[in-house]
């Protein structure tokens, strides 16, 4: 067991996967010699060489486009988009081909690739470096969209993602990259994609979250317990496509009160889908409106005002207390 940050845990997962399977390739901007701007691919170039850890020219569409061809030739490419804001030049390949190739060819060709990207705000970055576009990808049928929340699940989920026979968009909450360490077991682990977990059990309300916001949710739950005697259950979704509806229903049916928290904008965000699912199958258990504590429908502010945008424990606490008072 080692105490690792998320960056280290992801790095470990990649190294393990590359050792296991020579068809796993890593490609992206500055992922090789430099080890990635966040150091997630640190040391891989040295261990696996420039045929498997590939510094590409500056073109995201070509990175993903090439990966499609590499998949056709039987490889398992892991593409890095340097920042969430820079995956969009590749969007037409992801929308138009990555998620469709299996269906188009009735299974003859598939895209077992992973597109990794640092994700979300909270690192005092400039414009285009703090976005949370998970709903944009979750809406695209054919993809799986995974968002770990800590070092241990990050490492396990990345392993599952790379082994998955279908394309996975893998969002790495950059605010959690080095924020804390966790015990990570020596042997590789996997976690199923599409399954969330109860991050904190509780009886009075359900706070549904994922990614970096999970920490705020847990903090809020502590405060709710200590200050307001509210025993909140916190769900960590881990995947937003597929969504673990079962887990959500189970908790909601127990608590009847729900707060959804994510940093992405609200309109047509993942929070809306969660509410719609609850209404579809658990409406009668709902004792209050579902509160959405989210980023606003604005451009996330450059960093001096970023704090006001990102959902924090205080906003979650308020929403939960109000939901209980409804």
């Amino acid at each position: 067991m080692a105490q690792l940050t998320m960056v280290q845990a992801l790095n470990l997962a990649l190294a393990e996967l590359m050792r296991d399977d020579p068809d796993v390739l890593v490609l992206g901007e500055d992922v090789g010699v430099d080890g990635g701007v966040f150091r997630v691919t640190d040391g891989l170039y040295q261990e696996f060489g420039d045929q498997r850890v590939i510094d590409t020219p500056l073109a995201e569409a070509a990175i993903v486009g090439a990966a499609i061809g590499l998949c056709v030739r039987g490889f398992r490419p892991v593409c890095e988009m340097q920042f969430d804001g820079f995956s969009f030049p590749a969007f037409h390949h992801i929308e138009g081909h990555v998620r469709r190739l299996r269906n188009r060819t009735r299974g003859r060709f598939t895209c077992p690739m992973v597109v990794r990207m640092p994700y979300g705000g909270g690192i005092r970055a400039i414009e285009h470096h703090s976005e949370a576009p998970e709903a944009t990808y979750a809406h695209l049928a054919g993809l799986k969209v995974v968002i770990p929340s800590g070092p241990r699940n990050a490492r396990a989920l990345l392993r599952t993602a790379v082994l998955d026979p279908d394309p996975v968009i893998f969002f790495e909450p950059k605010a959690s990259y080095r924020a804390f360490r966790e015990e990570v077991p020596d042997d590789p682990e996997t976690l199923p994609i599409g399954k969330g977990v109860v991050a904190r059990a509780g009886r009075d309300a359900t706070i549904i979250s994922y990614g970096a916001t999970l920490r705020a949710a847990l903090e809020a739950a502590e405060e709710l317990y200590d200050e307001y005697h509210i025993d909140a259950e916190v769900l960590d979704l881990l995947s937003v496509a597929p969504l673990d509806a079962e887990l959500i229903h189970e908790s909601v049916r127990k608590t009847g009160r729900v707060v959804v928290a994510h940093e992405a904008p609200r309109h047509c965000g993942v929070g809306a889908e969660i509410v719609a699912r609850i209404v579809e199958e658990s409406l009668l258990f709902l004792e209050a409106p579902v509160a959405r504590v989210t980023g606003f429908d604005t451009i996330i502010p450059f960093f001096v005002n970023e704090k006001a945008y990102l959902p924090d424990a205080a906003r979650i606490v308020r929403a939960t207390v109000e939901t209980l008072a409804f």
Partner: protein, 386 residues
């Protein structure tokens, strides 16, 4: 501090500079001219059997294409995009590939598909609105027809890169239109291809039109072949209606790719004789004279003339080919029209394993299609129900 005035400029005469000589160039190639004149020096020496097979495939493509137009008019096919007049380039290129090589088309390469063994009904399925048409048959290393212009260049580059990494001696040939060269995807793919020195043959089918946009409005460059110079490699222009020239240029490019020489850009000059698709009316944007001029350069009679001159083709063979092909087409149409399509397939190929939500949605559709609507309600009057 901020004072604005025109900086002094030498009007007219340019500051002298040094020329930078580049090691790459743009060249052109033609073997069999439109009026049948053959450049014997350049003529590739192909086995008679191959020449015959090539001609038969070109003819089959022409006839199937024609038949598709008819089926479309009869409402038995969807919108159709014909390839009449452009047969020589895809066929010549396909001829230069080995079976295990990879082929990435745009959507006008029917003859290449036929050469590479796709059953004719696949073509009908695709234009007839079924994914069966884009399910590449097992054992054939081709990507299916797919229309997002330019994107295929990237996939082909990735495949070629994969060929290099696999070290299995295979290469990849890719098609793109004159219109497609304007997309960023073309540029990025060629840049990666040259940086990684992958075995890719990029064939630009310059058929002079991208729907209604003429070639000269697509790019201000004199040739499309010279796009290659941006990547530090040679470009070559060939007469794309001259299958011999296409084969001469492609076989060199393939050989170069296979032996580690990296990518090539070939611009094949050809012409779309028909409408863009059956939804298009080319009279809106081009003259009958222009089309007539290109009819004269039709690759099919040109190739036939060459073969007849060589004594490889005669009326009997031609007639026999036609009969056989007609039978093949009939057979394919029959298969096509007698195929049942299962709407539930839409759920089955999204993932290796269906997700719970997709299972739920599939069940929802099943229930809807298989259960009659609830019986009309016995309530007396609308508005009183709640």
């Amino acid at each position: 501090m901020r004072v604005w005035a025109d900086p002094p400029q030498k009007k007219g005469n340019r500051v002298p500079r040094e020329n930078i000589p580049l090691p790459c160039r743009v060249e052109s190639l033609s073997v069999l001219s439109a009026d049948g004149v053959l450049d014997k020096d350049l003529e590739p020496k192909l086995p008679e059997a191959d020449l015959k097979r090539l001609y038969r495939t070109m003819l089959a493509s022409r006839m199937l294409d024609q038949r598709c137009l008819m089926l479309q008019r009869q409402g038995r096919l969807g919108t159709y995009g014909p390839c009449r007049g452009q047969e020589a380039t895809p066929l010549g290129v396909a001829y230069c590939l080995r079976e295990e090589d990879w082929f990435v088309p745009t959507y006008r390469e029917l003859p290449a598909y036929l050469w590479r063994g796709w059953p004719m009904e696949k073509h009908l399925y695709w234009w007839g609105g079924s994914e069966l048409g884009s399910a590449t048959p097992d054992g054939i290393n081709d990507l299916p027809l797919c229309v997002p212009i330019g994107t295929q260049c990237q996939h082909a580059m990735g495949i070629a890169w994969g060929c290099k990494l696999r070290g299995d001696n295979t290469i990849c040939a890719c098609f793109v239109g004159d219109g497609g060269t304007s997309q960023g995807d073309f540029h990025e793919a060629m840049n990666f291809a040259t940086v990684y020195h992958v075995p890719l043959v990029m064939v630009i089918q310059n058929n002079h039109w991208a729907i209604s946009l003429p070639r000269h409005k697509q790019s201000a460059s004199q040739t499309l072949a010279q796009k290659a110079l941006a990547y530090g490699i040679d470009g070559i222009q060939v007469d794309g209606n001259d299958i011999l020239a296409v084969i001469a240029a492609t076989s060199e490019a393939v050989e170069k790719a296979r032996t580690g020489g990296g990518p090539t850009v070939i611009e094949a000059i050809t012409y779309r004789l028909m409408m863009h698709t059956t939804a298009d009316d080319p009279k809106k944007y081009r003259t009958a004279e222009e089309v007539a001029e290109w009819e004269k350069r039709d690759p099919l009679p040109r190739f036939a003339g060459y073969l007849r001159q060589k004594g490889i083709l005669d009326d009997d063979t031609e007639a026999a080919f036609k009969d056989e092909i007609n039978a093949e087409i009939e057979h394919a149409v029959e298969i096509y029209e007698n195929t049942q399509h299962d709407p539930f397939d839409m759920f089955r190929y999204m993932y290796a394993e269906m997700t719970p939500e997709l299972q739920r949605q599939m069940a929802e559709l099943k229930r809807h299609l298989e259960t009659p609507l609830p019986a009309p309600s016995p309530r007396e009057q609308a508005g009183d129900v709640v």
